[in-house]
Symmetry: C2
Subunit: 513 residues, 2 copies
Amino acid sequence: MTTAATTTRPSSYNDLCAAMHELGTLGSISALVGWDQETYMPPKGTEARSDQSALLAKLMHERATDPKLGEMISVCESDPDLQDPTNAEFANVREMRIDYDKATKLPGDLVSALAKAQSKAQDVWKSARKNNDFKSFVPALTEVMSLTRRKGECLGIPEGGELYDALLNEYEPNATAAQIESIFTPLRGKLSAFIQEVADNGDAPDVSFVHREIPTEKQHGFGMKVIKAFGFDTDRGRLDTTTHPFCSGFAPGDTRLTTRYALTNFPDAIGSTMHECGHGLYEQGLPKETGDFGTPLTQAISLGIHESQSRMWENMVGRSRAFWSWALPIAKEMFSPTMDDVALDPMVRAMNTCTPSFIRVESDEATYNLHVMLRFELERAMISGNLDIKDLPEAWNTKFKDMLGLDVPDDARGCLQDVHWSFGLVGYFPTYTLGNLYAAQMWETINDTITDLDEQMAKGQFGELLAWTRAHIHVHGRRYSAGEIIERATGRALDPEPLMRHLESRVRPAYGL
Amino acid sequence: MTTAATTTRPSSYNDLCAAMHELGTLGSISALVGWDQETYMPPKGTEARSDQSALLAKLMHERATDPKLGEMISVCESDPDLQDPTNAEFANVREMRIDYDKATKLPGDLVSALAKAQSKAQDVWKSARKNNDFKSFVPALTEVMSLTRRKGECLGIPEGGELYDALLNEYEPNATAAQIESIFTPLRGKLSAFIQEVADNGDAPDVSFVHREIPTEKQHGFGMKVIKAFGFDTDRGRLDTTTHPFCSGFAPGDTRLTTRYALTNFPDAIGSTMHECGHGLYEQGLPKETGDFGTPLTQAISLGIHESQSRMWENMVGRSRAFWSWALPIAKEMFSPTMDDVALDPMVRAMNTCTPSFIRVESDEATYNLHVMLRFELERAMISGNLDIKDLPEAWNTKFKDMLGLDVPDDARGCLQDVHWSFGLVGYFPTYTLGNLYAAQMWETINDTITDLDEQMAKGQFGELLAWTRAHIHVHGRRYSAGEIIERATGRALDPEPLMRHLESRVRPAYGL
């Protein structure tokens, strides 16, 4: 699949890779510093830690915007040995140019104004959510949104696109709001109808047994067993505990996962562990050790593709009957006697509930996507100027009723629930559902290719599945766009049907439909 | 005790402190990266980690030797507002000048030649020790020693001193070999005679019960209880596990200890925990949070003073009858039933053994110092040219027989046992015994001042002791030399008698003498 690399690399290209290696190394240090802050740093280390992070950010910014780097990129762009668009080096230089232009397009005063406004908005958001007081959040959110709009203008509206696209492309390069809308809109209708059908006619699974108390160490042991079976290399990574789970692919040979444990909700922990493991498998599969670490070809292509990997292992694998026919006996033994009486069928049903609820991060696999679409529509309207910040609660609640059939009781459980917008993260939400869409489409191709995948999973064998993702997704880094990766891997452009089919195939049996 | 700071600080001084803050922050990042390498880094992270460490070392070196920093120091040196030698700012600038001159004195080619030779010598040393083959180590050690000698010449021989002093001053500023010799020589004679007396006439304590198996988690729990009682602030630090225990005082509010646990030797673990805790208490007591972090006044004055703090808590406190009359009941309860039958008297005796043995790091409190003196004499002779590297084993074995009365069976248990020399660490060993000497002399003053210290310790109260070390040692950072600190704190210059008295007071009762 991969075209051979140029046999002798021009020295201009080697110099550029060396500069990127230093930048990548600084990034890996910064990631370690961030990881430690969430895992082991003592509470009073906060102030010094923020000095450390700020200094590293400054050093990285200096290098990322260094005119000398720009010159090195230009030299490579005009090097006669680097003109073949099918070569890896060509793609690497192309992506470096994109990064460099982005980094240099944002004026320093905007960057610091945004940082200041975000920091303030987060504080205000916290107390606004706590006090269920949206009004107090309006000025801070307005400020962040206005600066975020300016950021989008500086980054530049892609040809034929809209301002929102400039922001979206920070997380999902080459995607457009129009294209996402064309996929989300039909999905939204079908999903809403399906959820209504389940609510009206389904026989809701019993989930009481998943709330039995299981000690954290035992849950951790089970999680470790699962991620090792998935293929996460613990010689090149580790799993720790944090309040908010994350994955950080630091550096070659060093990918760190974190998860959280609730004493009386073990599916939550194992779900979060499998999710982060999916991210970690992508990070371990990127060619950081064999390629030029720090260059784009060793990096993830987009948040959507990253999320497709986490969702695939969390949902397609982790909620499947095949997976649990292998994993349940292990869990039962490790948690004995707590789960001794649990049979496969109720376990699988309990993993595939579908019930509208107010909070995105607590929602199930199917309704989750409606939470995302709602946010996508609202943030797009806020950026285009079609929605005044002050009117956000009303717009939220109307849409929520329309999409999920529930009356939002208060803004804390409505438009104040997520931190993203106070961070200026606009264009981020849709990547969650893009991830689900990518994953579902890959999943169909994978099952067409590995025809006995269910049998393999039921034996705890995930190697062939991982190998498929390595070969079709991970190895490319940023060589191809997300859209190209999907087309190359599945033979067709992204469409909403596979996700819809996937969700129905899981939820219908769980609800006896 | 501390003279008031200048009320308005000149801007030249503020600029200098800001530059040192950045250098200190880089240092704290580097320390975190090193800590993680020993604690949580996955095995395959090594290569990327060495890139990270090398990059940070490069960035720190650039800043530490930046001519602009030199100019800033010069400006402060001639600032009329910074001329009062009793002011803290004056001392801070004085120490920055010392650091800057040292950093700029070493030519880049020497630094890299040393790094290369050290890295090679460590590999050679490992297999030489394993194979008990000193000859194979001779060329590598000769190379390191020759470069280390050149390093000493570049640093410059202090007035009236010898080449060894230049190296020693890296670890113990202002100390001289001659002065150390004048203290070590009488101590050596007395100590050898005393150890012989103990061997001839003493009744050796029973130590069998300390080798009962105690689970690691229980040992960790006991260690945590002890260091918290000592006053180690776990909101501003933590304790982890590593093969080789260490303390790293990263940054304001962040001091990390590590220890190790042997299943069947709990005094070893608690000793190492108390030792590192002593280092950690010094680090937490340095004015990093209230002062200008990164400047010399927030840093430890010398390895000897650092070691005095670790040895005081490990030995003066941790082997005392008073400490164990508080700690033993706690240990017995936490380790129950393993230690149920152990009484105070045998416990204290077992903590105060005195038996010549071959390995420094396994030796007891008293004989340890002879191991150090042996190394001091030999490394001084190697640097002065009075001892050929090839003759090291014979010189070692002769001295060892003379000082400790034992025939060294092989070089692995003789001159090949320590890694220090292959690192080019010359002048480092004596700081271990300097630490013991400083600690013993402080301990006499402390007991003269806090007359009921034993009663306090027997109740698990260590606050007054810690406060004394804070006020007389920690708070000064590098404001005064180690010698000045000792004189200010104890009213007299360093002498060998307190350590001799201390050791006798512990060992005699343990051996019924």
